[in-house]
């Protein structure tokens, strides 16, 4: 690493994000900013019922509205051979049978299964006409009983033929018998019933797409709000069969936040790109916020019963977890994997619990599909582990920090194989705990509690020592476990003839700051100026392949691919430099942008080498011209970010209002490329976690109508709801990727709900209160109800 570069833009420098200038001055180019000649507008007809048969869709009145060009239905999609939206992860139940998938047509043809499900697309030459048209489509529905409540869904009316008890699967992980034995021998058992509330993602930019079909060439272009455009192309071509892969280009331009909700392949873009060819005009669709609430995939929504067995000393000897997970009306793209492989595998937490057994029922209900949302399974797992550990400490009269410390996996235990299928490569959990205790001034808590009591407030403190798994890997294992795609990433580095660098990544930035971080990495690795490095992403027409951004994988996997590509650049560069210096490649060293001849003062810069590669006047005979290299990087393990979050809250006992007054996050993300961006990620994640703990709740009524369908009723946290967070890090570098990085995008949302709810229950002296801890619920808890 060059020290001269490290001072300002190298690895570890808090470089301000280069993309922010365009984002905050309104000059970003989001999907809705893009327009095409002859463009028309699409509006979807959406089901007003949670469950109903469609007895007919009459488009006659709509087609009579001036400007309406077409009304497209599910029946026509089927007739055109357009397939169902697939679920990308085949989970097998505990008997080894395939999960039961409900058919998921992009536009409902015979039955609707949640409020907001699209059943027709109206296309018109103005948005107004399209809206008018959508209101004029007359669908005849025959209402059916809707299954809404998660707790009783398996004993309610069957939604789909052939899917008994509305169960997609009953999945299990771990050793059931050994765990049962551990409980039989336990000195103490703590039991906790928990709810993990349904969340509605609410990215700042709603989903949108612009579908273009060129009749002359047969090419399709889909501009869309996607976190993974190549996956979108793969699914739309291979499974949905809208267009063959080589005739379909998917572009995800600037994307205004995703949090997981833009990973998935949705009905809307599928219908739009299909209809663009039928109507012969480019079609734009932009969700309004109400549509986002209804039809973006929601997150979380679990009911769990957990039991923790402990011996006399307080060592954890067994953990048994039974979870009912709401999948919604259909299996969304990764919906099946979130409450199974991304959840059950994390139940060891930071502890040496020897016996763990988890059973998960994946249940269909007549609600919006549920899929990955920031953290995806790991916040749910952390919530279970960290709530029950805290409860056990209370029951045993032990300090919750001490009980955790006693059970933590120690640095010398790594690599550590958990009873739930993961092998942690490295960590130092006590280091994060110690730093967090110091930052929160743990010793001073009782004083703060007494001061709050004088103000008629109850103050509580709560911990979460979380672990998560990022950069889902390796591909072979994931595919064996049911993943439909690999989980590698690609990167390509083009040294241009003038010496600057174009970098192409299959990773996608929708707010993460890749254009800055990845440029820091490449600049550092190749020794070229930071400003000479351009990061290109989000276009299947510009880069070969990629799997996009989710699961905090971008840097650990995508960044590692760039390192591999850079190494190839250096390797080839050495051959060119050797020729230029009339020596052999073995005699050439590379450091900080310079190829030098060992034991001499001869050297050439990487820019000179690049020029020689493209203007090969005097060039090695056996070498291809050009200096561009690509690499695919397939990690051999997950990365395991971990840390300690501590929350302090004060409860106004008269009103039930919970104020988050202090929050400390100490995270181990391995090496850090850009601390400014990392801190920003933690801040955002903690804000989302505080939202889950205290405010956010997607609520359906008994008929399956979404009651929290707008910002008036769905409460997102705002800056003035939150204290100044104290954010710090500890470092144990990841052992198996070249950057030693782990990923930081989700940790804030993973640790914080458990920490905050532990603080709330500590303040109230109650065993549990169902998230979110909203004022009336807390007020009732204070009254002992």
């Amino acid at each position: 690493m060059s020290e001269a570069i490290a001072e300002d833009t190298g690895i570890g420098a808090p470089v301000r994000r280069r993309e922010d200038a365009r984002f905050i001055t309104g000059t970003g180019r989001y999907t809705d900013d893009l327009n095409q000649p002859g463009q028309v507008y699409g509006v979807f007809c959406r089901s007003p019922h949670a469950r109903a048969k469609i007895n007919g869709v009459d488009a006659e009145e709509a087609l009579g509205i001036p400007g309406v060009l077409g009304v497209y239905t599910g029946t026509e999609m089927v007739a055109d051979g357009i397939g169902d939206l697939p679920c990308g992860w085949l989970v097998k139940d505990k008997a080894g049978n395939d999960m039961r998938s409900a058919p998921h047509p992009p536009l409902a043809a015979t039955q609707v299964n949640y409020v907001g499900e699209p059943y027709a697309l109206v296309v018109a030459d103005s948005l107004q006409a399209a809206r008018q048209g959508a209101e004029s489509v007359n669908a005849e529905f025959e209402e059916l009983h809707a299954v809404v409540e998660l707790g009783s869904a398996t004993v309610s009316e069957q939604i789909y033929e052939g899917i008994d008890h509305n169960l997609a699967y009953e999945w299990a992980l771990g050793e059931e018998d050994a765990t049962r034995m551990a409980f039989a021998r336990a000195a103490h058992v703590t039991t906790l019933e928990l709810t993990n509330n349904r969340l509605i993602p609410n990215a700042m930019e709603p989903r949108a797409c612009l579908g273009v079909h060129d009749a002359a060439t047969g090419d399709y272009t889909l501009y869309t709000t996607s976190q993974n455009p190549h996956l979108e192309r793969l699914v739309l071509s291979a499974f949905v069969q809208v267009a063959p892969e080589h005739k379909l280009r998917v572009v995800a331009p600037d994307v205004g936040g995703g949090f997981g909700s833009k990973i998935f392949i949705y009905a809307e873009e599928t219908a739009v790109i299909w209809a663009a060819a039928k109507v012969g005009r480019p079609i734009k669709w932009v969700a309004d916020r109400s549509e986002s609430f209804l039809a973006d995939a929601h997150g979380r929504d679990h009911i769990t019963r957990a039991e923790l067995a402990l011996d006399e000393q307080g060592r954890f000897t067994g953990l048994r977890v039974k979870t009912t997970a709401n999948l919604g009306a259909y299996l969304s793209t990764f919906g099946s994997s979130v409450p199974t492989y991304l959840y059950g595998t994390l139940l060891a937490g930071q502890y040496k619990t020897p016996n763990i057994y988890v059973e998960v029922q994946g249940v269909y209900t007549n609600t919006a599909p549920v899929d990955a949302y920031r953290g995806a399974g790991r916040p749910e797992a952390t919530y279970v582990v960290e709530r029950i550990v805290e409860q056990a400490a209370r029951e045993l009269g032990k300090d919750p920090a001490d009980l955790r410390r006693m059970n933590m996996i120690q640095p010398e235990d790594f690599p550590y194989e958990t009873p739930v299928a993961l092998t942690y490569d490295t960590g130092n959990y006590e280091a994060s705990l110690d730093k967090a205790l110091e930052l929160i001034d743990y010793a001073g808590f009782e004083g703060r509690r007494a001061a709050a009591a004088e103000q008629n407030k109850r103050r509580g403190i709560g911990f979460a020592c979380y672990i998560e798994a990022c950069g889902l890997a390796p591909s072979k294992l994931a595919i064996e476990l049911g993943a439909g795609v690999g989980l590698y990433e690609s990167g390509e580095i083009r040294m241009n003839p003038t010496g600057n660098v174009s970098v192409f990544t299959g990773s996608h930035s929708h707010g993460q700051g890749h254009e800055t971080t990845f440029a820091q990495v490449v600049s550092d690795k190749l020794g070229v100026p930071y400003d000479d490095v351009d990061i290109v992403h989000g276009d299947t027409g510009r880069m070969e392949f990629g799997l996009g951004t989710y699961g905090s994988r971008s840097l650990a996997v995508g960044g590692s691919a760039l390192i591999a590509a850079a190494e190839k650049i250096i390797e080839k560069g050495k051959k060119i430099a050797a020729h230029m210096m009339q020596t052999t490649p073995e005699q050439v060293d590379f450091d900080d942008g310079t190829f030098s001849l060992q034991d001499s003062n001869q050297s050439v810069t990487i820019q000179e080498v690049a020029f020689a590669a493209y203007v090969p006047a005097d060039y090695p005979e056996d070498l291809e011209p050009g200096l561009t290299e690509k690499a695919f990087y397939d990690p051999n393990n997950f990365t395991y970010p971990a840390g300690t979050h501590i929350a302090e809250v004060e409860v106004d006992i008269e009103t039930g209002v919970v104020e988050l007054v202090n929050f400390v996050a100490v995270d181990d993300f391995g090496h850090i490329i850009n601390p400014l961006i990392v801190h920003g990620q933690v801040h955002g994640g903690v804000a989302q976690g505080a939202g889950q703990a205290l405010m956010e709740h997607g609520i359906y009524d008994e008929y399956g109508q979404l009651q929290t369908g707008s910002m008036m009723d769905y409460c997102l946290p705002r800056a003035d709801d939150l204290p100044d967070f104290q954010v710090d890090t500890t470092v144990t570098p990841c052992t198996h990727n070249p950057l030693g990085v782990k990923g930081c995008g989700e940790a804030g949302a993973i640790g914080s709900p458990a920490a905050i709810m532990n603080a709330v229950t500590h303040a109230l002296g109650t065993k549990d209160i169902a998230m979110p801890a909203t004022p009336e619920k807390v007020w009732r808890a204070v009254r002992g109800e």
């Binding site: 009103t655 405010m695 609520i699 008036m712 409460c715 004022p775 009336e776």
Partner: protein, 265 residues
């Protein structure tokens, strides 16, 4: 939004004439409720009559015993008015609690009152201070202005032109905001007019009302302790996702006690 005809008259008389000539007209003041409703296609006036050009509906006039606020005055203009802050600080403070800065920069007092949202803040001031609502035709006593959920004493075509607030000896407002919308789940304004106590409550019921039970107690004994034994009946109170009627009734008492503490301090 459905298509509509847009008008921007310069006098109240012209506005009323436009209203009477149109099929199904609506007045547009700050638009903080009407515009979103139209965008959701839940309101579809044929004609929208924008009141922002009517000079006679703007302005703040502060006298020793009376504060007069033009109906088109924006919330932030009330919140930041030095004269109101000095003479009737409770009104400035209340206006500063409405929605967020964007809403306060657009929303108007007349629009808020004419809409009679059960959770709006200004109605608590109109009731609690015993204000008089003026229209182009008449003066309506604050106590009679709010009639039900989104229903007022206004007749079709009638425009709120200004509001007169009597200046109390002292007053205080406490609000329990909805965490999502920041409307009042409950808001209580207590005013002391030389020993005569008025209590205006918003958020709890279908429209703002005088809490006569609380007034009775406080007229006897202006002491927070006096509120302890008072029952606030929740019959007819709103009940929704955010607060049951029972919780709202409880909050009325808590907010009243806190307002009273402010008033006495």
């Amino acid at each position: 939004m459905y298509p509509f005809n847009y008008h921007k008259p310069e006098t109240v008389a012209d506005a009323v004439a436009l209203f009477n000539d149109a099929d199904d007209a609506m007045y547009l003041s700050g638009g903080m409720t009407l515009i979103p409703t139209m965008k959701q296609r839940l309101a579809a006036p044929t004609d929208l009559i924008d009141l922002s050009g009517i000079a006679e509906m703007t302005g703040i006039d502060v006298a020793a015993d009376k504060v007069t606020v033009g109906a088109f005055t924006r919330h932030n203009d009330v919140a930041t008015s030095g004269a109101i802050g000095e003479t009737l600080p409770v009104l400035a403070q209340l206006a500063g609690l409405i929605g967020d800065n964007q809403v306060r920069n657009r929303g108007t007092i007349g629009g808020s009152l004419a809409n009679s949202d059960p959770a709006a803040d200004y109605p608590a001031a109109v009731i609690g201070l015993g204000a008089t609502v003026h229209t182009q035709e008449r003066a309506i006593a604050g106590d009679e202005f709010f009639q039900d959920l989104f229903e007022t004493a206004l007749q079709p075509g009638e425009i709120v032109t200004r509001i007169e607030f009597p200046v109390p000896t002292r007053a205080a407002y406490r609000k329990f905001p909805n965490p999502a919308s920041r409307y009042a789940v409950v808001g209580v304004l207590i005013a002391d007019f030389n020993g005569a106590i008025r209590v205006g409550v918003t958020g709890a019921g279908p429209c703002a009302f005088r809490a006569s039970g609380l007034e009775e107690v406080l007229n006897q004994n202006l002491d927070p302790e006096a509120l302890e034994g008072v029952e606030v009946p929740d019959a007819g109170f709103n009940s929704d996702l955010h607060a049951s009627a029972e919780y709202r009734a409880h909050l009325v008492k808590v907010m009243a006690r806190r307002a009273l503490n402010d008033l006495l301090s």
